[in-house]
Amino acid sequence: MQNNHLLTYLLLTPFVGGLLLLLINREKENLIRYFGLAVSVITFIVSLFLYFGFDISKSDFQFVYKFAWIENLNISYHVGIDGISLLLILLTTFITPLTLISSWKGINKKVKEFTFFMLMLEVGMLGVFVSLDLFLFYVFWEVMLIPMYFIIGIWGGERRIYASVKFFIYTMFGSLLMLVAIIWLAIYASGPLGHFSTDLIELYNIGPTVPHTIQLYMFLAFAFSFAIKVPLFPLHTWLPDAHVEAPTAGSVILAAVLLKMGTYGLIRFCLPLFPQAAVYFAPAISVLAIIGIIYGALVAMVQKDMKKLVAYSSVAHLGFVVLGIFAMTNESMQGAVIQMVNHGLSTGALFLLVGVIYERTHTRTIAEYGGIAKLIPIYSVILMIASLSSIGLPGLNGFVGEFLILLGSFKSPVLNSWWYTVFAASGVIFAAVYLLWMYQRVVFGEVKNPKLNSIKDMSAREIFVMIPILIFIVWIGIYPSTFLKVSSRSVNKVIEQVYTPQNHSLK
């Protein structure tokens, strides 16, 4: 089923759907919601076609389509996917409908604009994952910023303007450096190739030949931009503000997908294009990642706001992913890829659950809770499963990713020391501390706050949103092969690209 236009359909569906949505009268809020939901579900179905048509035995890009866009500069509309992007595309198209359903009652002003922005955001996110041209990638990367800026700025909490401006400018600042590097690389490539080119496949051959010092700078420029997005310590401070102030749907999408774009960029661009630089910087970046793991966990422990706690936990989790990427072994990278999906599911679930309870009590302060296990048992159970997934309990999805990452980094020839893994593994202790402590203060104990007595348990709609996520949490935990085998060849190819075009030996 290799229809080469399938990816274009994937991108067009939410785009056209969003444009059509603009024609609906803004009074018909329910129609808008259903229409938006239908569009996102159709996008999900299109992505399923991608999944079933994908050949896991090949490591090359599939569903490739190339259309010359700016001929003079050899910039083309070049799209294609491999195992890694496929998993992330599925994650995106899976989470978006769930997010729309979860905001059914939560967003009740300017519903039309909201749904429109969510669909445009989806276009941006999917575009990032399918682009095989650096310029096209950059366009989609920036496109995704604008709807997010509006979503946080209009429907967010009290300090939403500060948070959304901070998010936008911080991320864009990084992207500009990346643009410089893209242009630099494309100009450099015009030497060997004979023409200015931003095509990724061509640049894969050129990138590793860039002289060492220049390669270091290019790598840093790209990595800086991705590091802001990940977020990598110490470039993470936009995240707590953005997450806390964003509406639930915004937080879920931000955590589930947007953060993955940073790590995806590292795997897709930084490592294969600049392998020597990547190996050179791997120890330093791994140290930052490990600091992120421990620091994120410790700071999460002392937060008083539930959403901020989960936001800092994202910093900790993505520290694991970055460590997995820069350990550059098969196990650690596979672990990193699957952990990207896992984090999307478990942190997405946690944000959805925080949103559920916020809708009822309009407070996220942990101290104002306590004893809700008696009052809303179903919620408590689902929160427990999501927390355990985030802690990395074996049998649930988080463990698979964390274990593979730690195992891979222990035997990494690039890092070449046990100490990275020792410190990173201590993160598993701290994760249990902050999540269980939060869970205990919110769910167990006595009901101290009389305002809580009237809260209702999860409605059918809310349970319906959580169930698919829980199913995947358990599925990936018990039988991850379904997902690991999708990405395994592609991960192997990236590792090959890192190790083989070496003029000098690795440590």
Partner: protein, 645 residues
């Protein structure tokens, strides 16, 4: 039956789902209880069947692997959900399912009337599921799955009554402490696993153990592997320094204490070290560490148990102490003796806890032994079974505890050195003493409780399990009668387990320089110590209780130290917990994140702001000003052009 062994794991999981999802709808306690206990009962029968099947196999073929499906296959890592049925795992399986079944039945009575009755059985079944995964696993990762799974169930069950207060904290706090301290141990276990994978290229038991003699591996690698794994064991099996969670775990319902914190979960560490006997045999230095920690823990915990007044606390410290004995046994290379003690300990400790539960129930949740006394006339069955268990734990023949404890003491003398034996012997004295202090203060003597308490015997559903366990505690030792008594056949239990530990024993190459006469003399000494402890306890607590208060007064400092459990929790809190929390709050968050890092970000924005505020002042709005600037610019440009010509 062997091929059906996976059912022993699957059925409890089905029970968990059934009671978990439907339990709150089924209001009938009998149904929930029968399903919950029934699945364990069936698992027990399957285990028995597998045992007899294995017995019929020739000795070399007694290891069967039942492979279900692939769990993780990434790079060189190939992990299946596969289970190993061999002599060691069968012993553990029989103990877990057998004692587990008995405790499930007991719980039907104990938890009667609880509004979360269904949730209790659901969690208990989940626990058995995880525990069976642990002991039947054929690779380290599935073992770890069970390892963490039992930790989770422990957390859920300790905090089962989640709105109940427990000493200065809540039950949820106790559960959280258990989980986190266990996690610290798991951190060590993970590192051990990584090192194993790095060294052997596999996490499969068969692969790893078969490569030990073959590959050329440095001593330090073995030492690290053994040490890391042992750190995990100290967490799970409550040894120094990570035992602190076990006494607080008594916050949970008593059947939980019996099942998890006496008979099964805490023995997981012992099982793991025994399973990895070949690794430990290759790291004798660490084996010494194991023995030392085991001996010290045994003694240390026994001293704390001497002065506690909460019946469950005494039993908790007793468990820590007995676990120390098991590790002492492993540490001197007596692997099967350690496992033997696991088995007998499961019998008598579970019995002690269940009987204690019976007492607590009838005394309306009062757990202070100073408020008991003379309960034997009200609860004869409980009293007699408690007595049987106390005799067993004190090592009085012919009860089971005598055989297992004696084996350990003998081996620690013969394979280890006299110091190990001395510590073990003194601890045996202390054990007998505190156990009978407990017995006399609770069941004998004058009643010290008020008129409001009406103690009564527990219903049959609770006393029958007690009797069953008492029988096991009585006869359970006979399968481990030492070679001394049983002739050329040797110790039957040891023989059964011998193939599992054969390679390890060969490596350790211990030679027993002592003969049978030494063994008999040591045996006699330990019996004398046990009886002595009983007599001293009787004289103090039955005859003249004032001696106790006098002694406490005379040795006030020591008494205080023991009563406050050597202030270990307070020390940990002050040196580890509080500093970390305070640093994270005041330094890491408020200063580093909010002021420094975010300050840099906001500062950058502020700089841009200030600079532009100043630059915009050029736009004065006065046209002449612009004209002046233009004129200056033209002059400068002309000047530059003319100069460069």
């Amino acid at each position: 039956m062997i091929q059906l062994i996976y059912l022993t794991i699957l059925l409890p999981f089905v029970g968990f789902l059934f009671n978990g999802l439907l339990g709150s709808k089924i209001k009938n306690e009998k149904v929930i209880g029968i399903i919950g206990s029934g699945v364990i009962g069936i698992s027990f029968i399957i285990a028995i069947g597998a045992f007899f099947e294995t017995l019929n196999l020739p000795v070399e073929q007694r290891k069967t692997i039942v492979d279900l499906f692939t769990w993780l296959s990434v790079g060189g890592l190939n992990i299946h959900f596969a289970y190993q049925v061999d002599q060691l795992s069968l012993v553990m399986a029989l103990v877990v399912t057998g004692v587990g079944f008995i405790i499930h039945v007991y719980s039907i009575g104990y938890m009667h009337g609880d509004k979360s009755f269904w949730r209790f059985f659901s969690y208990l079944n989940l626990f058995i599921f995880a525990m069976m995964n642990l002991i039947l696993a054929d690779n380290f990762l599935v073992l770890f799955l069970g390892w963490e799974g039992v930790g989770l169930c422990s957390y859920l069950l300790i905090g089962f009554w989640y709105d109940k207060k427990f000493e200065k904290m809540t039950t949820a706090d106790a559960g959280k402490k258990a989980f986190i301290v266990n996690r610290i141990g798991d951190f060590g276990f993970l590192l051990g696993m990584f090192l194993i994978y790095l060294t052997f290229g596999s996490l499969n038991f068969s692969d790893v153990f078969s490569k030990i003699g073959v590959l050329n591996i440095s001593q330090s690698v073995f030492n690290f592997i053994a040490l890391f794994l042992f750190i995990g064991a100290t967490g799970k099996s409550a040894q120094i320094p990570l035992y602190i969670w076990l006494p607080d775990a008594m916050a949970g319902p008593t059947p939980v204490s019996a099942l998890i914190h006496a008979a099964t979960m805490v023995t997981a560490g012992v099982y793991m070290v025994a399973r990895c006997s070949l690794i430990y045999a290759s790291a004798p230095a660490i084996l010494t560490v194991v023995a030392i920690i085991g001996a010290l823990t045994a003694f240390f915990a026994a001293t704390i148990g001497l002065v506690q007044n909460d019946i469950k606390k005494v039993l908790a410290y007793s468990t820590v102490s007995q676990l120390g004995y098991m590790f002492l046994a492993l540490g001197v290379g007596a692997f099967s003796a350690g496992i033997f003690h696991v088995m007998t300990h499961a019998f008598f400790k579970a019995l002690l806890f269940l009987a204690a539960g019976s007492v607590i129930h009838s005394m309306h949740e009062d757990q202070n032994i100073q408020n008991f006394g003379g309960l034997r006339k009200y609860m004869p069955a409980t009293a007699i079974t408690f007595l049987v268990a106390s005799l067993a734990i004190s090592g009085i023949p012919p009860f089971s505890g005598f055989f297992s404890k004696d084996e350990i003491l003998w081996k620690s003398f013969a394979n280890g050195n006299v110091i190990y034996w001395a510590i073990g012997a003194v601890t045996a004295l202390l054990t007998a003493f505190y156990m009978f202090r407990l017995y006399f203060l609770t069941f004998e003597g004058n009643s010290r409780f008020g008129k409001d308490k009406h103690p009564h015997e527990s219903p049959k559903v609770m006393t029958f399990p007690l009797i069953a366990l008492a029988i096991l505690a009585f006869i359970g030792g006979f399968i481990g009668i030492p070679a001394l008594f049983s002739g050329e056949g040797g110790n039957a239990f040891e023989n059964w387990l011998e193939p599992v530990f054969k390679n390890a024993q060969a490596r350790l190459a211990e030679t027993s320089a002592y003969g049978h006469s030494m063994e008999i003399s040591l045996m006699v000494i330990s019996v004398i110590l046990g009886v002595g402890g009983i007599i001293i306890a009787r004289n103090i607590y039955l005859k003249k209780p004032s001696i106790a208060t006098e002694l406490a007064g005379k040795f006030k400092g020591l008494y205080n130290l023991l009563w406050n459990k050597y202030f270990v929790d307070e020390v940990y809190d002050a040196t580890v917990v509080t500093p970390i929390v305070k640093t994270s709050d005041s330094f890491l968050w408020r200063i580093t994140d909010a002021k420094i890092i975010d300050g840099a970000v906001n500062g950058a924005a502020a700089i841009v702001d200030r600079v532009s505020k100043n630059i915009r002042k050029i736009q004065t709005g006065v046209a002449q000003f612009y004209a002046i600037i233009m004129a200056l610019g033209i002059v400068l440009a002309l000047f530059w052009i003319i100069m460069s010509l």
